[in-house]
């Protein structure tokens, strides 16, 4: 992956950000940033969309430079509530858009596989989807995020601590990579090759995106919450 020369700044032209790294395009809907931003710079566009500029830049940085790790001082300039909204919006994007899209293609492939391979492929995907739902919906959104929100309001719950956080995205990503290997390498070559190539692109992109998502949780969310846990009595 080509490395960027200089970090993005508040004064970078917003459009330049997107041509520099096209993956940043997918961040716009998650932050609620609309198109038609003209020649404005990052700070102006963020302000218009009521997005915390520091947080936006930090997330862009993680997306385009996998080695980036914000320091304690930098973390103090972001807003945890905004970060949670961003993470939830990402979850919606995965669950409501990416997975259903992949699923739709996969269904065609499963049908074309017939009785011989169809059922096991379908079982593989169902099991995977349950794992994804369990982690994202039942764990992060129903246990972790409510805990953090309560912490923000100054309540301490005795039962949970952020250092118990399950780093389950690695598994989610691994199985996604497995799915791609099965589709490309191991299913008989004559079953819908065109559709399989197309869906592999989507899977690679999603896998990459999930990887950045867990980096954001590991390098921004968890250290931030840890510092909150330590400050309060």
């Amino acid at each position: 992956m080509p490395q960027k020369k200089t970090p993005f700044s508040k004064n970078t032209k917003f459009a330049e950000l997107l041509t520099d790294d096209r993956r940043l395009l997918q961040l716009l809907p998650r932050f609620g940033i609309g198109l038609g931003f003209g020649d404005r710079n990052v700070a102006q566009v963020c302000q218009m969309s009521r997005v915390n500029t520091n947080l936006f830049l930090m997330i862009c940085e993680i997306y385009s430079n996998g080695n980036f790790r914000p320091g304690k001082e930098e973390l103090r300039h972001i807003d945890l509530g905004d970060l949670l909204s961003y993470l939830k919006a990402s979850h919606r994007y995965y669950l409501d858009e990416r997975f259903p899209h992949i699923e739709e293609h996969l269904h065609n492939i499963i049908e074309a596989c017939g009785q011989k391979y169809g059922p096991m492929l379908s079982h593989f995907y169902d099991e995977y989807k349950q794992e994804v739902m369990r982690h994202i919906q039942y764990y992060e959104e129903e246990v972790v995020f409510p805990y953090i929100e309560a912490l923000l309001e100054g309540q301490r719950s005795g039962s949970y601590k952020i250092d118990e956080f399950e780093h389950n995205h690695t598994n989610i990503q691994d199985t996604l990579d497995d799915m791609m290997n099965i589709l490309l390498k191991y299913l008989p070559g004559d079953i819908l090759p065109k559709e399989r190539i197309e869906i592999s692109y989507d899977i690679m992109e999603l896998s990459d995106d999930l990887n950045r998502h867990s980096l954001i949780e590991e390098r921004i969310l968890i250290p931030y919450v840890e510092s909150l846990e330590n400050v309060q009595p």
Partner: protein, 195 residues
């Protein structure tokens, strides 16, 4: 990809010196130093090593047996002899290369680069699962735990783990459910054998 190196040498002075030279090279990480070969196999698994530099003097007369066993358990590992004393040359045949006590820094660096080359060929060479690996794969697909597989096949848990690593390296598949699909697609197992 960076190579992960284990150095097995009784003299701390030699081991640290060699580790210093190797760590200075961008493509190598010295992940572990051992002063005896007792827990070598576990260490290879635990640190995911792919290059072993070992002093044959530590192995004594069991040299060949030990190395061929190690090679079977960890086919991905390249073995290099670290020769610090006068030695019968027949002892060196099982190794892919030799580093000698009076090699200069630049000589060691150029040798290490050569070893790294042979490693990439080694990795791409064997893509077929061995009989043992296929057996482990089937057991994994059936939902057995590592401990159960070890008991059933009469091998140690770390051998099971190293088979599993090789299976993943060869197939590119990491998850249990993915391996199950692989086993079915390759007719290693039937649908009705699964619980």
């Amino acid at each position: 990809m960076r190579s992960r190196v284990i150095i097995c040498e009784a003299s701390e002075m030699i081991a640290i010196g060699l580790a210093e030279i190797i760590d200075g090279m961008a493509q190598f990480d010295v992940v572990s130093r051992l002063d005896n070969p007792e827990h070598l196999s576990e260490k290879i698994v635990a640190s995911d090593a792919n290059l072993l530099i070992i002093n044959p003097a530590l192995l004594g007369f069991h040299n060949k047996d030990f190395l061929s066993q190690l090679g079977k358990e960890h086919p991905q590992v390249i073995m290099i002899a670290l020769v610090t004393s006068c030695l019968d040359h027949s002892m060196l045949t099982p190794y892919s290369g030799v580093i000698e006590i009076n090699d200069t820094r630049s000589k060691i660096i150029s040798k290490m680069n050569e070893f790294a080359q042979s490693e990439t060929t080694k990795n791409t060479d064997d893509v077929e699962l061995s009989k043992r690996e296929a057996d482990v794969l089937v057991a994994v697909a059936k939902g057995m735990m590592n401990k159960e597989i070890a008991d059933q096949m009469n091998i140690s848990i770390h051998t099971v783990i190293s088979h599993r690593k090789n299976i993943t390296r060869k197939t590119g598949i990491k998850s249990v459910s993915g391996l199950t699909v692989y086993a079915l697609l390759n007719n290693l197992i039937n649908e009705d054998e699964l619980i």
